[in-house]
């Protein structure tokens, strides 16, 4: 292939108008509802998460007010339990995760040189799910029925017997609803980083922030499924009495703890990595140099991703696991400090290498150093088993986790916001406000949490609301409370500073910090289409990009186009056509919301209607995809002709499906873990003899056979087997329905409950398989599948193969159980 040459320059203003018309959205309310633009959605994520941060912050002030005296006559215990549960849950699920998603969604296309994210409608869907799910949780708080079992929702306290109210259901359903946005963002971010970089940008040349976000997104793909599985199982137990966690019927509360912390510990690194990515991006700019040890930092990120999945048990050192098993997790927990230390020393080395300047973002980074290092060290202490036995579930841990999360996430995010605000708004900060906010937050933070270590060492457990018999805890708690309000004032001042900056800050030029990354080459404030042409060799500066000298200038085909590249080398492969403004994200999210509400209010007979409505509305998403036109090359630049995405089998959708199946497969693996764990570890096993008869084996074999047939059909060219495969999937569903009737009562024992859940999993996959197969039938009929355009067939085939594999594994599992 010859090297593409730059396009001839065009009138920049005309290009700007052309692109704005295609990539823009209608003004007013309608525009807000239909927008799918990554800058707008990313910004909305950040704003919404800041609103939730404020709510959770107010809750923490209520906690501190209650604990300021020993007989806290301020809140009653029920309300206090709701408030601390909601403080943790909101901060984790409705602030930290959405905040980092928003930042990544906003920045990544601009940093990587793309015009939008890989699946714009999916990011909008994610935001609406987040908004609706978060609103349900907030309304529950206002109604006095918020979750009150702690953010970790340990069973059996959260089971129906001990939490009969709607509170726990609000948590399980609301948080799972919000997790849709986390999974959507994870898929979105992974595919965007892997396939939508600027032409020629190799994986190893990416800005470090992209590496960090790739690690984060990978962790989210694998980290959230355990929580989602746990939440679904617990909700089924609460709603229908299937005993996954009830020890009397073969369940085990420890299964919940394993699933929760399999998510919960990686979660900490999911939160830390993007913040570290911001540090690695900002620090070198503040030091007028380049980052030290790019390769070592990438290795550290990958190491963290890997190691963070091996240490969830350190939250469970006191549950009675044998000491030698704890030793492994203790060592792993300590080992995870190594990649963190590598990064910290690389950052210090960068400071020594350059000439650091104490500008506002750097000030916040100093806040990071002065808190996170201590939080990391107390974290290592907590990894040491005997010490953990003493301080576990005391205020010492509360202090530690706030040092890590505020030090490792909030301070770097404040640095990031200070750093990228000129990009968001085109304005510089109001002098002095950010600095004053910094000192208030820093002093308030250490005043609150440093002494809290001592409070914990003096024996104060977490989550208590009164301590009438312990006068020695009064003074440290009072100190924490007073400084807590100082910190709150600091955050309020920070927010005020941002508002004033947006309105009154002095205008800034293109690159106020002298940074090297691509996002600063874009006009300020940024445009809806990011760049008029994508950077290629010979056209990399802002002016030539604006004049359309780069690849894919303007919007000559009146559709939203951006380049898709090879995952590793960054060689351009095809031109992706992205969907435009749509009502579908909000209507889909609303439909899911209706289903969630039906479940929440216990209208289980109506809930299947909700599922049917979700399936119906999901079907409408495919309307945009595909083309009826034949193969045509698009001239991206002189010397570079590429096909449109509809004509290639390996498009963004296929990469997205691979990511989806990784998450799905993780969920399935967690299910298998649950089966194995209960079988081996739980008391009250083996289960009573099964009454599943021989005929059931035939039904199961028939199901697997039908799915194998569908999988075979999916291999035929041009979706020829789609009709047959759709029928096979439906027949499989019917066989499974017969099989369901023959299963043992799922409320009797965990084994049977797990079988029921597994059967539901296969049904779900067969239904989606039937829908995808039918989509191929429709596309064959209307010409969207033909010799040169694969339509949905490659995506369908992946799904079909996965369905077959998971169903076969499940069948084999049940056969093994019966044989044993």
């Amino acid at each position: 292939m010859t090297q593409p040459r730059p396009n001839p320059p065009q009138n920049a203003l005309r290009l700007h108008h052309e692109l704005t018309r295609i990539w823009g959205r209608p003004k007013g309310w309608r525009g807000i509802l239909v927008s799918v633009n990554h800058s707008e959605i990313g910004f909305r994520f950040m704003l919404t998460s800041f609103a939730f941060f404020s709510v959770a912050g107010v809750l923490s002030m209520l906690i501190r007010a209650q604990l300021a005296t020993h007989d806290g006559a301020f809140l009653d215990t029920d309300l206090y339990n709701q408030i601390f549960t909601m403080h943790g849950s909101i901060m984790m699920f409705l602030f930290a995760i959405p905040m980092l998603e928003g930042l990544a969604m906003y920045l990544l296309p601009k940093m990587l040189g793309a015009r939008d994210l890989a699946f714009p409608r999916l990011s909008a869907l994610g935001w609406w799910c987040y908004l609706f799910g978060g609103s349900i949780i907030l309304l529950a708080l206002l109604g006095g029925v918020a979750p009150d079992g702690g953010w970790f929702m340990y069973t059996p306290l959260s089971s129906k017997a001990y939490s009969p109210g709607i509170n726990a259901d609000v948590w399980l359903l609301g948080i799972t609803f919000v997790e849709i946005s986390a999974l959507a963002a994870a898929i979105e971010i992974t595919v965007t980083i892997l396939r939508m970089r600027a032409p020629g940008m190799r994986l190893t040349q990416m800005p470090l922030f992209a590496w960090y976000m790739l690690g984060t997104a990978a962790m989210m793909l694998v980290g959230f499924p355990p929580l989602i599985l746990g939440s679904i199982l617990l909700e089924i137990e609460r709603a229908f009495g299937w005993p996954f966690f009830d020890v009397a019927r073969g369940g085990d509360p420890l299964l919940w703890q394993h699933l929760f912390w399999l998510f919960g510990h990686p979660e900490v690194y999911i939160i830390f990595l993007p913040a570290a990515g911001a540090i690695s991006t900002i620090l070198p700019v503040m030091c007028r140099t380049t980052i030290m040890g790019y390769g070592a930092i990438v290795a550290a990120v990958l190491g963290l991703v890997f190691l963070s999945f091996g240490l969830w048990v350190h939250h469970m050192f006191t549950v009675g696991i044998p000491h030698m098993a704890l030793a492994f997790f203790s060592a792993a927990s300590a080992l995870v400090a190594v990649p963190t230390a590598v990064q910290i020393f690389a950052w210090i080395g960068t400071m020594w290498k350059g000439r650091p300047q104490m500008r506002l973002p750097m000030l916040y980074l100093m806040g990071f150093f002065s808190t996170f290092v201590m939080g990391g060290l107390t974290g290592v202490m907590l990894a040491i088993v005997p010490f953990n036995w003493q301080v576990h579930d005391t205020a010492f841990v509360t202090a530690h986790l706030h040092y890590v999360l505020i030090g490792g996430f909030v301070f770097p995010m404040m640095a990031g916001i200070a750093y990228w605000m000129p990009l968001f708004t085109g304005r510089r900060a109001i002098r002095g406000m950010g600095e004053a906010a910094f000192w208030l937050v820093l002093i308030g933070f250490h005043g609150t949490f440093f002494i809290m270590h001592l409070t914990g060492l003096l024996g104060m457990p977490r989550r208590i609301d009164l301590y009438p018999d312990n006068p020695e805890w009064v003074l440290p708690n009072l100190v924490s409370s007073i400084f807590g309000f100082v910190m709150a004032a600091g955050f309020a001042l920070f927010a005020l500073g941002l508002i004033l900056q947006t309105r009154y800050g002095p205008r800034t030029g293109r690159d106020p910090w002298g940074a090297g990354t691509l996002e600063w080459a874009l006009p300020k404030p940024s445009t809806v289409y990011n760049i008029a042409s994508l950077p290629i060799e010979g056209a990399r500066d802002a002016l030539s990009l604006a004049r359309g000298e780069g690849a894919l200038p303007g919007a000559p085909r009146h559709q939203r186009e951006t380049l898709v590249v090879n995952m590793i080398s960054g060689r351009p492969e095809h031109v992706a056509v992205l969907p435009g403004n749509a009502m579908l994200p909000i209507t889909t999210a609303a439909t899911i919301g209706v289903f969630v509400l039906l479940m929440l209010f216990g209208l289980y007979t109506l809930a299947p209607l909700g599922l049917i409505a979700i399936a119906a509305i999901c079907w409408r998403w495919q309307g945009f995809t595909g083309t009826r036109q034949g193969h045509a090359q698009v001239t991206v630049a002189p010397g570079l002709q590429l096909p449109l995405s509809w004509h290639v089998p390996d498009g963004l959708a296929r990469t997205g499906m691979v990511c989806t199946l990784i998450a799905d497969g993780t969920l399935f693996a967690c299910y298998l873990f649950a089966v194995g764990f209960l079988t081996v570890i739980a008391p009250n096993w083996p289960a009573p003899a099964s009454t599943v008869a021989q005929g059931s084996a035939l039904l199961a074999a028939g199901t697997v056979g039908l799915l194998a047939l569908a999988s075979g059909c999916a291999r035929l060219a041009q979706g020829r087997g789609a009709g047959l495969a759709a029928g096979a999937n439906i027949a499989a569903v019917l066989l499974l329905a017969l099989l369901a009737l023959r299963l043992d009562d799922p409320t009797a024992h965990a084994r049977d409950a797990l079988r029921g859940a597994g059967l539901g999993y296969v049904v779900l996959h067969a239904v989606v398989g039937a829908m995808l197969a039918w989509l191929c039938v429709v596309q064959r009929r209307d010409g969207r599948i033909a010799a040169d355009r694969p339509g949905a067939a490659p995506v369908w085939r992946l799904w079909q193969d996965y369905s077959l594999a998971s169903a076969a594994i499940l069948a084999a599992l049940v056969i093994l159980q019966e044989a044993a």
Binding site: S330, V380, V391, D469
Partner: protein, 218 residues
């Protein structure tokens, strides 16, 4: 000068980890003071390195190799290896191993009280509520379980904590060096009555056991 007695006085308390009265709590307290010293030195070192980064006329520039391999890998791993090894050594010594004179009691948690059962002098079971009687200077194995949700048995001045789980019987070794009253608390959130879920451990002189009356209803 004034700070030292003030600091030590600040470490006292009925639930203080820093005021140990048994071998397990004492070893963990030693571990804590050692880790605190190390962590304090490391914090000062890292902050000093950050501060030195701002000095324009700083010392000779160390290489990337020094920062990444030297500090990030070698230095960190040496400290961690020593610490994890030390922690395991202490943890192993705290395990409940069978011995000739180990006293055995049962602790049964429920929302929101502790019941303790142990064999009486006449061979029958004696049950007490929210107060556990143990012989001082004798290793005691507490067999811990729960009848409803998860709780945690914790007497900070004697030993670390152990969870009470429904359907399981966890064993925690405690030992009080001297006779006395030691406070205990539940340390796992258990709902409305959690804050008040306290209990006492009364260590009696081994040669002078008290006469206990059975409070159980069975």
């Amino acid at each position: 000068m004034l700070a030292v007695p003030l600091l030590l006085a600040g470490c006292e308390g009925p639930l203080s980890i820093l005021d140990p009265q048994g071998p397990a709590a004492a070893q963990i307290a030693v571990l804590w003071w050692a880790m605190l010293t190390g962590a304090g030195l490391l914090t000062v070192m890292v902050m000093a390195l950050v501060w030195l980064g701002f000095r324009r006329d700083g010392p000779r520039q160390p290489s990337e190799r020094f920062w990444i391999h030297g500090m990030g890998l070698a230095f960190t791993m040496t400290i961690l290896a020593a610490l994890v090894g030390g922690g395991l050594w202490v943890g192993e010594r705290l395990q409940p191993r069978p011995g000739p004179q180990v006293h055995r009691v049962e602790a049964i948690a429920s929302q929101w009280q502790w019941r303790f059962r142990q064999p009486g002098p006449d061979g029958g079971w004696i049950e007490t509520t929210d107060r556990l009687h143990i012989p001082a200077a004798t290793p005691v194995d507490v067999v811990i379980t729960s009848q409803d949700v998860i709780h945690s048995f914790w007497v900070p001045r004697l030993a670390g904590k152990m969870d009470a789980l429904p359907g399981r019987h966890n064993v925690l070794r405690i030992k009080a060096d001297a006779p006395g009253l030691y406070h205990g608390t539940s340390a796992e959130f258990s709902g409305r009555g959690y804050a008040g879920m306290r209990f006492e451990v009364l260590a009696y002189p081994p040669d002078d056991p008290p006469t206990l009356t059975d409070e159980g209803d069975e």
